[in-house]
């Protein structure tokens, strides 16, 4: 650890400062992020009311919107609040939520991971193929390959200092190529054995709720603890807030960055594996556009794309909000599924505009004298 640290510091002012400026569009960010972060974290920052309000809107906006949407939807559509439909929403949210959890860490660290959709599909195909050797092999295979892709992403971004979006864009292409390669250009679909234990992981139920939903909840609790209550989590915030300051305070920037991309790869692979267990096959066309959904959910959940600030719980609310909206669009029979994309895109624009506006107001407040 100390070796990595000194090396990083040795690279010092020219390297570190240079690459942060040069990291391209993904790396640009407002100056005041560390100050921003103090707001929602607790009573540390002053008691200016408007600032509190905007911080609250940032943190809980997705939850409020979710509750409102659910309320309106259950009043408007009889079928919405039925157990079957809610279960549908929960299970279809579970896979995206796991991906969004990893994305939250990446975005809080100031990066972005566009490869998750392809990695999700690859994880599913690998798990479906591996399930013939038992559930352990299925999971291990998916996790190890997807974790490795995350590791490569992380090393290229943290060590070679390449822009995150371009590296993960390439990984998106590479992972999908690999997946197509395994499946003979997508023509062969690996089916799970009928009575495979692995299928239980996707289809099984505990207390009437699907196992993927339980796994998601557990992962979110763990993820929340990891981000909020551990040294690693603090380092993720610090690196996303200001890389130079983080390395000066003793956080290993390289190690933190590599870890978040590995985490994102692992979670995307796990989500894909669970999805394959649920569908009982590794479907090759899955996961396209999933990176967008995951990023939207994270951003809607109040995580700043410029890094340094974000909430695991918000991402869960964001995922549920997206899925509820999609569900509602499906309930309106006359609307075709393409509307989901239009609505998602429009929704993302609205959220980003509001976020930018809130962030700018707070920044103006913090930088103004007095």
């Amino acid at each position: 650890m100390s070796a990595a640290n000194t090396r990083h510091r040795g690279a010092g002012s020219q390297e570190a400062a240079g690459s942060q400026e040069g990291a391209g569009p993904a790396g640009r960010a407002p100056r005041n992020r560390t100050a921003d972060r103090a707001g929602p974290a607790g009573p540390g920052s002053g008691g200016i009311r408007a600032e509190r309000l905007s911080a609250l809107a940032q943190q809980h906006g997705a939850l409020v919107a979710l509750l409102l949407t659910v309320l309106i939807a259950s009043l408007s559509f009889d079928s919405f609040a039925g157990a079957g439909n809610l279960e549908n929403i929960a299970v279809s949210s579970a896979f995206l939520a796991i991906v969004a959890l990893g994305m939250t860490f990446v975005i809080v660290s100031g990066g972005i991971d566009l490869s998750v959709g392809s990695v999700f599909a690859l994880g599913g195909v690998l798990a479906a193929w591996g399930s013939r050797y038992g559930p352990v092999v299925a999971l291990l295979l998916a996790l190890s390959v997807c974790g490795t892709i995350g590791l490569i992403n992380g090393l290229l971004i943290a060590r070679a200092r390449l822009a995150p979006f371009i590296v993960t864009l390439a990984a998106m292409l590479g992972a999908r190529g690999l997946m197509l390669n395994i499946t003979e250009e997508g023509t062969s679909t690996f089916l799970l054995a009928k009575d495979s234990v692995f299928a239980e992981l996707g289809r099984g139920k505990l207390l009437g709720v699907g196992i993927p939903v339980w796994i998601t909840l557990v992962l979110f609790v763990l993820g929340g603890l990891l981000l909020r209550r551990t040294r690693f989590g603090q380092h993720v915030y610090a690196v996303g807030g200001n890389e130079d300051a983080a390395s000066l305070m003793g956080a290993s920037v390289t190690r933190t960055k590599v870890s978040v991309y590995v985490l994102s790869g692992l979670l995307a692979g796990l989500a894909g594996a669970l999805n394959a267990a649920w569908l009982a096959s590794g479907v090759t066309i899955l996961g396209q556009g999933m990176e967008l959904e995951a990023i939207s959910a994270v951003v809607i959940g109040g995580t700043l794309l410029s890094g340094g600030m974000g909430y695991v719980s918000g991402s869960l609310a964001g995922v549920l909000l997206l899925k509820v909206i999609q569900n509602v669009i499906n309930q309106i029979g006359s609307l075709d599924s393409a509307y989901q994309q239009v609505v998602s895109g429009a929704f993302l624009i609205v959220v980003v505009v509001v976020q930018t506006w809130l962030g700018r107001r707070r920044k103006a407040r913090l930088t103004s004298p007095g």
């Binding site: 400026e21 640009r28 989901q340 994309q341 239009v342 429009a346």
Partner: protein
């Protein structure tokens, strides 16, 4: 200035890197050409060159807009969706004649560009997020307008897609004209100068009194309009409107062409000639792999490797 600083640190390495970044793409194209001449059957035929040139035209046109966006230290991920939208608009408006259809597609591209540009320039949203939203929404909109593949039957469109002037296919002519136009705009106009200044340092450009917002808006409008033209040409060539798949992953090819061509992702420089060579390189790479019976998945893997290599080669010369 960037070169001066880099030169002081490590003159030799910096020189090699800068040479590689600027001219590596031409070396790559040369190597691929030689390889194909030596090992690929029927490579040296007029028919083959024509096919390759026609296929490269849409990538090149999209890449030109992307080069402008990247030169302004931005990015435009929505170009593929703009192509999808324009193919839908062709299907909708072809009934009024090809010119109306062309007008509609270009207006559609400009509209998307206006939204992108306003988000980036006036609201201050990061380009990657703004254009990501339009990437999702744009393809959705295209599918709402035209839900499935439709045949495009029009003699004018067919002539545009497969006709030629003095042996040069129309799409290639149009692409070349746009290359000259963009090259001229970047090098010889105030807009180009301002664009590069903004890409180099936005705060400095603002302090110098440049119309930062207006220029950024124009960049994304230009990128949208160029992508729309590319979508129109691709529709003419395919003689079908297929909003599900047209332009998918185009943003990647365009970014690769621009980056491989030596335009740094950190902005402040646009290499139009390099972008042309970058687009040709991608097309040649794809064609080479296909002609040697490697499945398309290898093309994706190879393209991923090329992107990473190109960015890696360029990284030493980021803005300091």
């Amino acid at each position: 200035m960037a070169e001066a600083v880099a030169g002081r640190i490590a003159p030799d390495r910096a020189a090699v890197h800068s040479w590689l970044q600027a001219y590596g793409v031409y070396v790559g194209v040369g190597v691929l050409l030689l390889f194909n001449v030596a090992f690929t059957d029927h490579f040296l035929s007029a028919e083959n060159f024509r096919t390759q040139a026609v296929q490269v035209a849409p990538i090149l046109i999209v890449a030109l807009g992307m080069a402008l966006a990247i030169g302004s230290e931005g990015i435009d991920l929505s170009v593929g969706s703009v192509m999808a939208l324009s193919t839908s608009l062709v299907a909708l408006y072809l009934g009024y004649g090809p010119w109306v259809a062309l007008l509609a597609t270009v207006l559609g591209g400009i509209a998307i560009g206006l939204v992108n540009g306003s988000l980036v320039a006036f609201v201050g949203v990061q380009p990657i997020v703004a254009t990501l939203a339009l990437m999702v929404g744009g393809r959705g909109l295209a599918l709402v307008l035209v839900p499935q593949l439709e045949d495009v039957r029009d003699p004018g469109m067919r002539a545009l897609g497969s006709g030629d002037l003095l042996g040069v296919p129309y799409p290639v002519l149009i692409a070349l004209a746009l290359v000259l136009l963009v090259g001229f705009a970047v090098r010889r106009t105030t807009f180009g100068r301002q664009l590069l200044a903004i890409g180099d340092s936005r705060p400095a450009a603002r302090l110098a009194g440049l119309p930062v917002r207006r220029v950024l808006l124009c960049v994304y409008v230009a990128s949208g309009a160029l992508a729309a033209v590319a979508g129109f040409l691709a529709t003419a060539r395919l003689q079908a409107s297929d909003p599900t798949s047209l332009g998918s992953l185009m943003e990647l090819s365009a970014i690769t062409a621009v980056v491989v061509g030596g335009t740094p992702l950190s902005g402040g420089r646009v290499r139009v000639g390099g972008t042309v060579a970058g687009a040709v390189l991608i097309q040649l790479l794809t064609a080479t792999l296909i002609k040697h019976d490697l499945p398309p998945s290898w093309t994706q893997i190879a393209q991923a490797a090329v992107i990473v290599l190109a960015v890696y080669a360029a990284r030493e010369r980021g803005k300091r």
